[in-house]
Amino acid sequence: MNVILEARDVRYRYPGSQEAIKGISFHMRRGEKIALVGPNGAGKSTLLQMFNGMIRPISGTMLFDNEPIRYDTSSLRQLRKRVGYVLQNADRQIIAPTVYQDVAFGPANLGYDEQVVREAVATALHQVGLVGFERRPPHHLSGGEKKRVAIAGVLAMDPDVLVFDEPTSGLDPSGSEDLMELLDELNHDGKTIVISTHDVELAYPWAERAILLTDGQIIREDVPDVAFGNTKYVRMAHLSVPTLLELSTELGKRGFEIPERKPRSVLDMIHIIENHLHGACGHPSPGTIMVCNVDEDDTATLTAWVNTHPDLVAGAMGTRAKQCASKECIALEFTYGVIDKCILRALRGKDSLILTTSGMISRVAIRVDAYCKESGNTIAVIPLGITESSPVTDLTNEEV
């Protein structure tokens, strides 16, 4: 992966106060998911604002695409088109009186034709699952919906990098999960994503790389299990060790065999425990995971099929899949970490159904395959392929 954003010994001081950023150097590769973690006042937001030229470092260099960032108006316009910034408070980011106007703001200012603007708005609203909200005024939206409008406003400019300042602040747990799922979806579409947060439980399983920041300096930069695994650095950053990591450390001290790659999910943890017990708590015949592509399959027929399988538990990955489930009144048991939860269910010998979209369907097979190789289990992933002409009437484990 090539480097898209880089900071070389950048420093910044707000007028009349002490240094907020004290010589930070790091780089960000294309397609990465990075979490900038630190306590309040660590300089996270200040650093993020340097990514799209909102703040100019007093010394050091910021590079985008291996070119030093230039701070003239036209260069900044180009940079801001490619680096989208989502503010912490969505109310402060939404500036127009309707959702359509706000999302269209960026493309219109980039000088696109009206038709292109309309298409960009439609695509962005589709991505964040707000189709039909065009005429709604922002003050009629919930916190999660406002956040999605703010993200759509940035997505409409089709940036390469998305920068989120405290993306889950002010959201309820379900809203936070939905948002993190959306960030995964965007990353899967090829966007580089960087978030700032002080929520270690959120950053640990999500990020590919974590940067611990405190008092304007990076104190540790590594994969999350290493970055959060060192209690000295975690304490220095006024953070806490993620529960899963703490639990795996304790299990390791009690004789459990902990793999080199520390557990990042409940599934990983169950795998460690099962290994220790030599698979004693697993089911002799694992369940199956059925996958329905809501972009291609006939969802109306799917509803009828789901109704005939009351024991089947469904989960949805991606905004469109969740909307489809809501439209077809399919009760969702899982909305975040869906694949892992379905694998856990399969290990107990139960079947489950994942609703997903064309862009994300391959992730199911890849993740299940990786787990099966690592654990030696066999879990079947079956594409449902329901069409109006050939509805699936029943599907059992034996048929698989």
């Binding site: 799209n52 909102m54 900044l76 316009r77 801001r80 088109k81 989208g84 910034y85 503010l87 408070n89 109310d91 402060r92 980011q93 939404i94 500036i95 127009a96 009186p97 309707t98 359509y100 106007q101 269209a104 703001f105 960026g106 219109a108 200012n109 980039l110 000088g111 603007v117 065009e134 005429r135 005024p137 922002p138 003050h139 009629h140 406003g153 940035v154 400019m157």
Partner: protein, 267 residues
């Protein structure tokens, strides 16, 4: 204060059953009624217009009658106070009622002043309801589009749109500050209330200033270049709504003509 924010006219307009009717049709109905009420020399036309528009708003428009009554209370009290003054100020005709509180003050109500008072009251009633019809059925965003079409300078409309957006944010902040003050007995005594209110204004000023700075930052982040996109997703003109409006206005004009000239045109 919270309920004031929640039941603001724009929210009612957003939820109105007439929300999706072409705004021009609604403007035609409201402005047509308003003009006819104003030029009518008789209270009959404003009275009919007010009653018909109220029924339209409440029955098919599904506006809460209680909310509508509360809204009308404001102009009604204002109009009543003005009419009471007019009753004693205007003259003409026979004296109906005379009152001498002190020997040198002579208050009289005459048939002429009563006629004028009733006419003014009915006009205020008809005109207020015409204006409420627009406010309760057409959200501001639709009006912005209309303003753009009739050629109001785009800079002015952009400014109005930003102000409109920030009214709700600042109102919400005001409610939060006010609640925080009330919870700590900020308005329990008159002097305390004055102090709390001045603090509320000060805090609002600071937060508005910060919101303004964030606005500039948010616009810069999205490459602001002087363009504020408009929402051209207006409803098309629907004949099913336009025809009844034209027929209604024609009928009201006919009544006005009869009232003015006393001539009934027989086809």
């Amino acid at each position: 204060m919270r309920s004031m924010i929640e039941t603001n006219l724009d929210n009612v307009a957003q939820q109105s059953a007439f929300r999706h009717i072409y705004p021009g049709t609604k403007l035609l109905l409201a402005l047509g009624s308003l003009i006819l009420c104003l030029i009518s020399p008789s209270p009959v036309v404003p009275l009919i217009s007010g009653i018909v528009l109220s029924l339209v708003l409440i029955v098919p428009g599904r506006i809460s009658p209680i909310l509508y009554g509360e809204l009308l209370l404001g102009p009604a009290i204002f109009a009543m106070m003005s009419v009471i003054v007019l009753l004693f100020m205007l003259g003409g005709g026979d004296v109906i009622w005379r009152f001498n509180p002190v020997p040198w003050i002579n208050l009289t109500i005459t048939t002429g002043s009563l006629r004028e008072g009733i006419l003014v009251l009915c006009r205020v009633f008809g005109c207020s309801i015409s204006m409420f019809f627009i406010a309760l059925t057409t959200p501001m965003t639709d009006l912005f589009n209309g303003m753009k079409r009739i050629g109001i300078p785009i800079e002015l409309i952009d400014l109005m749109m930003i102000i409109y957006r920030y009214i709700f944010i600042i109102c919400a902040q005001a409610v939060e500050i006010w609640q925080a003050q009330v919870m700590r007995l900020g308005y329990s005594r008159p002097w305390e209330a004055v102090r709390s209110f001045s603090m509320l204004c000060g805090m609002l000023f600071i937060s508005s200033w910060n919101a303004g700075e964030d606005l500039v930052r948010a616009m810069d982040c999205r490459c602001y270049n002087g363009v504020f996109p408009s929402l051209d997703l207006a409803e098309p003109i629907q004949m099913w709504s336009l025809v009844p409006v034209i027929l209604y206005l024609a009928g009201l004009s006919g009544i006005l003509l009869v009232m003015t000239t006393g001539v009934v045109i027989v086809p």
